[in-house]
Symmetry: C2
Subunit: 108 residues, 2 copies
Amino acid sequence: MKPYTHPAASEMTLPGVMQALSDPCRIEIVRALLNGGELACNEVELKVSKATKSHHFAVLRDAGLVLTRSEGTRCMTSVRREEIDRRFPGLLDLVLMEKPKRTRRKAG
Amino acid sequence: MKPYTHPAASEMTLPGVMQALSDPCRIEIVRALLNGGELACNEVELKVSKATKSHHFAVLRDAGLVLTRSEGTRCMTSVRREEIDRRFPGLLDLVLMEKPKRTRRKAG
DNA sequence: ATAATAATTCGACGATTGTCGAACAAAGGA
DNA sequence: TCCTTTGTTCGACAATCGTCGAATTATTAT
């Protein structure tokens, strides 16, 4: 019913997207969306309450990074990949970067 | 005299650098350093007090983005370009991105 | 109509942040 | 030695942030 407002791609700012991606939870969300395509908030596992999760989705939405559409009782969210790639090339690659897992190999 | 501590390159985190770059002042600082090489805090013009400017340099330093060395009464600061490029490829290109200046052209 | 599901909104809270002026410290030059 | 320059540190302050539980809305299923 309430139709989620999204900023135009041109409204995205560098400090804005940096800010949005400065929280580990939100990086995790974007990473999940990049890997999983369109997901409901429900389908992104986080160790925070649902209120907090909803907040993080809203922050990403307001920054212009994700697009949310209502479908039934769920909110399907996806990364605005093309627009981000056009405006901030390489940004999403950074998000996808593997965390430095300290594997137990002798030489890497 | 007091010898500025810097984190190892491996201590840099994605949320950490994003956080550090989420402030327009700090983006401006990094941009100036990328264009101007090694600069004293003094040589980066910002419309904030010197206390605040010192704070912003410290935040960038703690995030691992810049390296500061004492020279006389000045503190010469430079971007840790190679380490950042190795760990977060493309990050500095984002910082260098031109702000969307709305020029008055008819077609761009 | 009732219940269940999914998500948002509303305070509230402690923590962090950006900002400043004032005080301080270190180095260099008069 | 004293003064200037450069930068840091120290409260302090308002603003923002991340977090939560509880209440609310909206949709679907029974």
